[in-house]
């Protein structure tokens, strides 16, 4: 838990934030008739792809949790497969939860599913990249006092922020303002994105602020 680790983490976070920014700024230059509100589904796809790609790249370059034992190529492929499966299951799970929250079951099913994909790419893909497809590790990280490294903490913060963001994003929907961004799922996905970015910015500072306490606890 030294300064360099925090610095590496900040670089990673900045890159993740840039991925979101990229998905907002670049498509209008390349695609005609692209707008965040008008063609929201396209944006959802682009943003999820960007975020997942950056996460995978970071995993390859920064190596957050270096595993002690070397693994064979076959093992790696296996892990990759498993990760893909986990990601897909988490998309379905998010979709289910969103439907339970009251999203329509049949109409606008694509909106719901792509929103679930976006949430998964904000949360699950990061988990997969940092912790690997290891369910017990996930439960450990997401329970009280379970984080054991800087990366775990940043994971906790960004995940909670994006989910809370999505949760809060649902609140304006019942208001009778008739704004374009109140359409399902725009406010929620914007909330999730906003929460994610805030989490990315917040995490390094929070960890830096509490570094003494954290070093003590992770031992």
């Amino acid at each position: 838990m030294d300064e360099t680790e925090i610095r590496r983490l900040s670089v990673g976070h900045v890159l993740c934030g840039l991925a979101v920014l990229f998905s907002l700024c670049v498509p209008p230059l390349l695609l005609d008739e692209f707008s965040l509100l008008g063609t929201h589904l396209t944006w959802l796809c682009i943003c999820s792809v960007c975020v997942v790609t950056v996460n995978v790249l970071l995993r390859l370059t920064l190596k957050p949790n270096p595993s002690t034992k070397r693994s064979s190529f076959a093992h790696k492929v296996n892990k990759l497969k498993q990760s893909g499966l986990y990601f897909f299951v988490s998309c379905l799970l998010f979709h289910g939860i969103i439907v339970l929250y009251g999203a329509p079951l049949i109409e606008s099913i694509w909106e719901t599913f792509l929103f679930a994909v976006l949430l998964s790419s904000f949360t699950t893909s990061r988990c997969l990249c940092i912790l690997g497809p290891n369910f017990h590790a996930w439960i450990r990280v997401f329970s009280k006092d379970g984080a054991m490294s800087v990366w775990d903490h940043s994971l906790q913060i960004t995940t909670i922020c994006s989910i809370v963001g999505a949760w809060l994003g649902a609140f304006p929907i019942p208001l009778d303002w008739d704004r374009p961004w109140q359409v399902w799922p725009i406010s929620c996905s914007l909330g999730a994105t906003f929460g994610y970015v805030v989490g990315l910015l917040l995490a390094p500072f929070w960890i830096y602020w509490n570094r003494k306490r954290l070093t003590y606890k992770s031992r």
Binding site: I97, V99, L100, Y101, G102, H136, I139, R140, S143, W167, A170, I173, P174, L175, D176
Partner: protein
């Protein structure tokens, strides 16, 4: 004085109810009324005169020989003037285009419900919001009104249609035939019942006023909405009826100067969803078409209908029939109706109208002489006198005509101003009473709030410093100040306020109460601050011990309270609760995951924890002994073993099951405003084509209810429950909701009175058995089992009552309610150990969600009034009100009763469970009410105050009254407990 937490909570809620009653009395002003109820003919003012005495002191002669009022319920403005009207109401459209009618858009005021609207049409008043509550029953209209006046003048009135009229005007009609709107699903017979009399009545000549009230359109609206294919034919039918009346009357019109009049109007409109009660444009705008040959000579150019107030019909009708205007009417005469008369007559009419409005204003406003309208009227009156003088002198020059025109214009302006300032009076708030009520409520809430630490402690006691106010100088000072304020306010205020009009003894008692509460609050606060200073560290440690669930419960409850500041959130409150319980279930499932996947590691570390867990398991097994024994008796040991073996997985899945149940309940009843139009499953089920499906569903639900609830009952009540549920099915079958399996065609539908009473007997039987058990446990102090059994029996009696009264498809809600309660107690509470306060919060949330699951909303139109008629021959006020309240609030009520049962079972472990629960329940109920009355006071000039905020206020207050009752029950059970532990 040491006070138990439950007693304290109970007292606080009861005093809060008192404060709220005062607040409500100030918030819902009584409508503008004339003190003397019915005016008599002797009070007719003479024509103004100057110098010479006018010879015209009598009322002017009637304008119309016969009047037919055709009131079509829920007739929306565009059903006559819009595309639909042009297409389906050809005859009326033709008449309008020919120019032989006067057409208006009459604006109704909220609440757009039938009875207040009939009152508005016939008395010319704007019934106060509180009249809605009275709409549930229909007592006789005591105010001065057109019908009464007509009867006094010896006119013969015939009425056919909605029997609300007969209740409002008993013995006023020489002939009448009322149809009940009891079966809302019927929309042909209600109208045929009216139309079948028409031919006969139109032939006869022995009546002066004919009133027809057609209900079919309203029923179609409620059932299928304003765009259904049923609307067209119904409008065509109405058009046909009007054609028949018009041709019959015009063939009889012998004297062209004394023709008949047909009034076609709607009482209120119809929202896009097909209901009414609110104040959207569709609900408020109703057509008013006056058809008479008197208007024949008008230019045939068709123009847009003018916008007028609904109250304007009453004075117009009164003068048209040659009757005095009713005393408390706020309306003004429609000038176009008298346009064809001579100047002198026209002026006479306007003068009469103005005189009556001035008089009403004088009775309701102290500074009435300064009113603009009054001044203008006085001026016009003087001019009128001069005009009469000129007229009587035989002057017929153009000067007279011009002066007359100017005079009419002046009169009209004066009338408009008078009418407007009277209407403004209706929405005047009685701020003083509101303030006093709000202060009492606030003080009680703060008292509850500062008691939290000591009341939720292990002792569940609170030291109430009652002695301090009596001996403190501050108390007497406050009393004096308050008394002075009371005297000053009551002597200076312009409007009459309620709190001043009550006897001064009562007022003083309330003032002393306020002062005493203030002293108690301050002394407790002082104590707490002293304590706090000495132990600062303790506080911070207690904060960090909060779990995420505590945080969620707190944030959710506060968030809901804050959300009530936005009208959309009130309209869509169900969304908030569904959202919150969903989040709660997810939080529970996360805790469950942690429990099962993380505890293993820790168990290895400390075995003492494990031991403790085993101990508690043993204890909990004891609680569910009764239930399990039952399972054994029915040889369901396989199920039991299955549950035991797979407890972990069942427990992990249980939040998910609850979530799915809640999601399934959502589309059953669409409520709110924005998504109201979405197809809901309930409508599908109740439509007549799906009777077999509904019958199957009802049957299954009743069996499920029996299976879920019988476990903890005694044998006697079990049998009673079975018969009761059978009776419920029979009742549904006789009333025509469901079919017997052996009988496919519906026979004649009755009200099912015998069957319903049969069920009532069993409900009473079960309740009495339960109460008897409770009393027995009180007498024989050690009998713990009898007590829990008694409570459960009371609970199951209430469930049976709900099963009888609910709308048939809502039985699903009841079943899911019981199912979720069982899952929560058997798997979730048992494994995740929560304290009484947390469980109370969660029960409250579920109760609120179930309030909306059963189809309620925050508008008055969703109240299921039909529940008040179950098993009753006629409308009887008290049982009907009680039953309706029970059905409306059965969600929160059943959940809180279940909470009591659960906490009572918990008492062995922590003896203060019930007291804690009661206290938490009181505070969680008093928080929204307290915040809401402050919000409503702030929003009292908001656009949606009558359509959104006021109904919600009524819902909140009634809920608080019911909660106070629940708290009393809690306290009684808890007292029992305390008494027992003292022995």
């Amino acid at each position: 004085m040491k006070v138990g937490a439950s007693v304290l909570a109970c007292c606080c809620l009861l005093i809060q109810v008192l404060g709220l009653a005062l607040f409500l009395r100030g918030f819902f002003p009584l409508p503008v009324r004339s003190q003397a109820r019915k005016s008599s003919i002797s009070e007719i003012p003479a024509e103004p005169w100057a110098g010479k005495t006018s010879n015209w002191t009598q009322l002017p002669h009637p304008l119309f020989k016969k009047v037919v009022i055709v009131l079509i319920d829920a007739l929306r403005q565009d059903f006559v003037f819009g595309v639909k009207g042009k297409e389906h109401m050809r005859y009326v459209t033709q008449l309008i285009e020919k120019g032989s009618t006067l057409s208006y858009i009459a604006m109704a005021t909220a609440p757009t419900v039938t009875m207040p609207r009939i009152k508005a049409l016939m008395t010319g008043t704007i019934p106060g919001f509180i009249d809605i509550v009275v709409n549930l029953n229909s007592p006789e209209l005591l105010e001065d009104n057109v019908i009464w006046q007509a009867k006094q003048a010896g006119k013969r009135i015939v009425f056919y249609g909605d029997d609300t009229w007969i209740k409002l005007f008993p013995k006023h009609f020489v002939e009448s035939d009322g149809t009940t709107s009891f079966f809302v699903s019927d929309f042909t017979e209600v109208d045929d019942n009216v139309t079948r009399h028409l031919d006969d009545v139109l032939k006869r000549d022995d009546w002066d006023v004919l009133v027809l009230h057609y209900l079919g359109l309203d029923h179609i609206g409620h059932l299928t909405g304003p765009h259904s294919h049923l609307i067209g034919p119904k409008l065509y039918e109405m058009d046909f009826v009007l054609k028949k009346i018009h041709s019959a009357l015009s063939s009889k019109d012998e004297d062209p100067s004394f023709p008949s009049l047909i009034v076609v109007c709607g009482d209120h409109g119809m929202s896009e969803a097909g209901s009414h009660g609110g104040s959207s444009d569709e609900e408020v705008q109703t057509p008013l078409v006056l058809i008479s040959s008197a208007f024949q000579n008008k230019a045939g150019t068709f123009k847009e209908p003018e916008i007028i107030q609904q109250t304007d019909l009453a004075p117009t009708l009164a003068l048209g029939l040659g009757l005095p205007i009713s005393r408390s009417s706020l309306g003004m005469l429609l000038p176009a109706v008298v346009e064809h008369k001579t100047f002198r007559e026209q002026l006479r009419f306007f003068h009469l109208n103005g005189y009556q409005l001035c008089k009403l204003l004088k009775e309701n406003l102290r500074a009435y002489e300064k009113d603009d309208g009054v001044e203008q009227f006085k001026k016009a009156e003087k001019l009128h006198a001069n005009w009469i003088k000129l007229y009587l002198e035989g002057n017929t020059s153009e000067v007279l005509t011009n002066l007359g025109r100017k005079l009419i214009k002046q009169y009209l302006e004066a009338l408009q101003k008078l009418s407007a300032s009277l209407s403004k009076q209706v929405v005047e708030y009685d701020i003083y009473s509101m303030t006093v009520g709000a202060i009492i409520t606030l003080e009680m809430f703060f008292l509850l709030l500062i008691c939290v630490p000591s009341a939720l402690s292990s002792k569940a006691e609170f030291d109430l410093p009652l002695a301090s106010p009596i001996f403190s100088l501050f108390f007497y000072m406050t009393c004096l100040v308050l008394a002075a304020v009371h005297v000053i306010v009551c002597t200076s205020t312009e409007n009459m306020c309620f709190f001043c009009s009550i006897s001064w003894m009562m007022a003083m008692a309330i003032m002393v109460l306020i002062a005493a509460l203030l002293c108690v609050l301050l002394s407790v606060l002082g104590k707490i601050i002293l304590k706090h200073k000495s132990s600062n560290e303790k506080q911070s440690s207690s904060m960090s011990s909060w779990s995420e669930l505590d945080l969620l419960l707190l944030v959710g409850t506060l968030g809901h309270v804050l959300s009530m500041g936005a009208s959309s959130f009130i309209e869509e409150e169900h969304q908030t609760w569904y959202f919150l319980i969903n989040t709660l279930c997810l939080a529970l499932s996360q805790e469950m995951c942690r429990k099962y996947f993380l505890v293993r590691k820790r168990n290895k570390m400390n075995t003492s924890d494990l031991e403790y867990m085993e101990q508690t398991d043993v204890y909990i097994n004891e609680i569910y002994d009764a239930h399990k024994k039952e399972l054994k008796e029915e040889r369901l040991s396989i199920l039991e073993r299955f549950i035991k073996d797979n407890e972990k997985w069942i427990a992990l899945a249980s939040p998910g099951i609850i979530l799915i149940c809640c999601r399934l309940l959502r589309p059953l009843n669409q409520t709110g405003v924005q998504w109201m139009h979405r197809s809901d499953f309930g409508h599908w089920l109740t439509s007549s084509e799906h009777k077999p499906e509904l019958s199957f569903l009802v049957g299954t639900c009743l069996v499920m209810i029996f299976v879920l609830i019988q476990g903890k009952c005694s044998l006697v009540s079990k049998v009673a429950l079975m018969f009761g549920l059978l009776g419920v099915y029979c009742y549904r079958a006789t009333i025509g909701h469901v079919l017997y399996p052996w009988q496919q065609d519906t026979k004649d539908i009755t009200k099912g009175i015998t069957e319903a009473r049969f069920v009532y007997i069993f409900v009473l039987g079960i309740l009495i058995t339960g109460i008897k058990d409770l009393l027995k446990s009180h007498m024989m102090c050690a009998d713990y089992k009898a007590k829990s059994m008694g409570l459960w029996e009371v609970y199951s009696g209430l469930v049976l009552l709900a099963a009888l009264l609910f709308r048939p498809h809502n039985l699903v809600v009841l079943v899911f309610c019981l199912l979720i309660q069982i899952i929560l107690t058997m798997f979730i509470w048992k494994i995740l150990k929560y304290d009484a306060a947390q469980i109370t919060f969660m029960h409250y949330w579920f109760g609120q969600a179930f309030f909306f699951f059963q189809g309620n909303s925050n508008t008055i139109s969703t109240v299921d009034i039909s529940a008040g008629f179950v098993g009753l021959e006629n409308y009887v006020e008290i049982p009907a009100v009680l039953l309706t309240a029970f059905v409306t609030y059965s969600g929160p009520l059943l959940w809180s009763m279940h909470l009591l049962c659960y906490l009572n079972g918990e008492i062995n472990k922590t003896s203060t469970a019930v007291a804690h629960g009661c206290f938490s329940y009181a505070i969680i109920r008093s928080l929204p009410v307290t915040v809401y009355i402050l919000l409503v006071t702030g929003f009292r000039y908001h656009l949606f105050i009558w359509s959104v905020f006021s109904p919600k206020l009524l819902y909140e207050v009634i809920h608080l009254v019911i909660s106070a009752g629940i708290c009393v029950t809690f306290t009684v059970v808890d007292k029992n407990q305390v008494a027992k532990s003292e022995h």
